[in-house]
């Protein structure tokens, strides 16, 4: 692990072991994330990436190991308390609340966190301003992803976990999201599961590679990330 000063650490996961009933899917996974970083987790399907995210966000409980968020152990907290502490998780399915309008979706994000500063959030996703009265179910995949990101940024979270945000999106939409990632990183720390290697190379400060439930590599060298050195672990 790279040395990081204690006070800059947003998330420290140590020796995390997680099972689905008797089937163990995470083996001694350890990661560290500093404030302001963009960390990308790569790995094949079934490597344990989503399980790692779901455990960190409180949706699954670990058998063993610790999860420290801003120095506090959150391993036993329910997901809504983890979210209120400033750790948000955007699931892979891109499900927004289909029956609610974009405005109502944002209101739900605001009410939970008491953050109604929509201008700050919507400056990254200006397109949403024109879609306020449209139902979530009528948005395109890219618009949904923008809404989910906008919703998660309400409450000024310290860390946002995103599970495959670009999956199934058109290249020009991915370009828009790339711009958004770059803008957002000044406001929060991002941890992303991503299969899009060129995007990973462009935005990541640190890459963790996972295989068969284990963290098999940590790459922090910018040039190595740009050269896609992590590809061999996929």
């Amino acid at each position: 692990m790279t040395a990081m000063s204690e006070n800059k650490r947003v998330l420290q996961v140590k020796d995390l072991n997680v099972s689905y009933q008797k089937l163990r899917v995470l083996f001694d996974a350890s990661i560290e994330i500093s404030a302001g970083e963009v960390v990308v987790v790569v790995g094949r399907n079934g490597a344990g990436k989503t399980t790692l995210f779901r455990t960190v966000s409180g949706f699954l409980k670990q058998d063993k190991g610790t999860i420290l968020f801003k120095g506090e152990d959150i391993g036993a907290l329910p997901p809504y308390e983890v979210a209120l502490k400033g750790l948000k998780y955007i699931q892979q399915d891109k499900h927004v609340f289909a029956d609610l309008t974009v405005r109502e979706n944002l209101e739900l994000g605001s009410y939970a966190t008491k953050d109604y500063d929509w201008d700050r959030v919507l400056e990254h996703f200006p397109k949403l301003k024109t879609l306020m009265d449209r139902k979530g179910g009528n948005l395109s995949g890219g618009e949904r992803q923008m809404l989910l990101m906008a919703q998660s940024l309400l409450g000024r979270p310290d860390l946002v976990l995103m599970d495959e945000p670009t999956e199934g999106l058109a290249p020009h939409v991915i370009d828009d999201l790339k711009v958004a990632f770059k803008k957002i990183r000044g406001q929060t720390t991002l941890m992303i599961i991503e299969q899009n290697l060129p995007l990973t190379a462009e935005v990541a400060d640190r890459v963790y590679a996972m295989k068969e439930g284990k963290i098999v590599a940590e790459i922090v060298d910018k040039q190595e990330i740009k050269d896609l050195k992590f590809e061999k672990y996929l």
Binding site: F59, P78, Q91, H95, D99, E104, L108, Y111, A112
Partner: protein, 324 residues
């Protein structure tokens, strides 16, 4: 101020229409009071089913809680119908608060069935366990014990009608607020994706408990109004076989909408009264109608009215654009 007018406008128009109907068809006043009370019962179910997607086969139990609380008070303790209604509301609140944490842990079929079991339990309690208070199958009669209430004498059907109008108006104003509030949005959001609500920072357990308790309170209010209006209650009010009618009326009206419960009630009770005048098994017509609604008109009566209204607006817009 504009918001307040928005909340009051729809319910006010609906109440004016009911009052108008009362004077045009004076012989139908009993029918109008029945649909008013039943609408509140359907609104209770609509919070659970229409908003939160939780199917309950136990609604008669919660109706019975209110009806029997009011009836037992009026038959054994006091004489004031208003006090009976307030006690029934409180009992609905207590029932929701106590049963909620256990019941809402269950999902889907299990939630529906544990509520059905409550109905069976409720029926047993009023028929056997509390026989001394409820008089079992004979039912409780207490009309002669009821005292006059100030302003409106609830013993008199014509005055109870006005009381029912006031209550329905207040419930509809509250329901309009709920529909547009964050709490209402939370209910609808839980129905679609509960996990996502948790990730946003919501304690979904508390939200579902709140919805369940509101359902109990409103059902108990409706039960108390039945009890005061008829001056009589018997165990059939909590019978499990009456659970389906609440769901059918909710479906007919259009689940998850402000006026769906009212129009569902009108369709359900209206059809029952009309068809049963010609055929003894009116349920056959209701069954066929429900199948048609399920396949063709998911938005129910109110949803269909809204679609037609939108089409009309569209036609008007087109013709005015052409004439311009």
């Amino acid at each position: 101020m504009n918001k307040l007018i928005e909340y009051l406008r729809g319910p006010f128009v609906l109440i004016v229409l009911i009052v108008f109907a009362r004077y045009v068809f004076p012989s139908k006043m009993t029918f109008l009071v029945e649909i008013t009370t039943f609408s509140i019962y359907i609104i209770a179910n609509d919070i659970l089913y229409g908003y939160m997607g939780m199917v309950s086969f136990g609604q008669p139990f919660y109706l019975g809680v209110g009806a029997y609380t009011a009836a037992i008070y009026l038959a054994h303790v006091g004489h004031d119908p208003l006090v009976a209604i307030v006690l029934a509301i409180l009992m609905g609140l207590v029932t929701g608060a106590i049963l909620g944490p256990a019941y809402i842990r269950l999902r889907g079929d299990y939630f529906a069935l544990i509520n059905a079991a409550s109905c069976g339990l409720g029926l047993f309690l009023v028929e056997k366990t509390f026989l001394a208070f409820t008089r079992g199958d004979d039912g409780l009669w207490y009309r002669s014990r009821m005292h006059a209430t100030p302003l409106l004498d609830l013993r008199r059907p014509d005055e109870f009608f006005w009381f029912a109008m006031i209550v329905l108006f207040l419930v509809l104003v509250w329901y309009t607020w709920l529909n547009r509030s964050t709490l209402g949005a939370s209910f609808r959001a839980i129905k679609v994706n509960e996990s996502k609500m948790k990730f946003l920072g919501y304690n979904t357990f508390v939200i579902r408990w709140t919805g369940f308790t509101l359902n109990c309170v409103l059902a108990a209010l409706a039960g108390a109004m039945f009890a005061v209006n008829y001056g009589f209650v018997n165990p059939s009010i909590t019978a499990p076989d009456r659970a389906a009618e609440v769901l059918v009326a909710t479906l007919l009206g259009g689940p998850g909408s402000i006026y769906g419960p009212f129009f569902g009630t009108v369709a359900f009770i209206g059809l029952r009264d009309v068809v049963s005048a010609f055929v003894s098994r009116w349920e056959l017509a209701m069954g066929i109608l429900t199948i048609i609604v399920c396949f063709k008109f998911r938005g129910g009566v109110w949803g269909t009215i809204q679609i037609l209204g939108n089409k009309l607006k569209g036609l008007k817009g087109k013709s005015s654009a052409q004439s311009a």
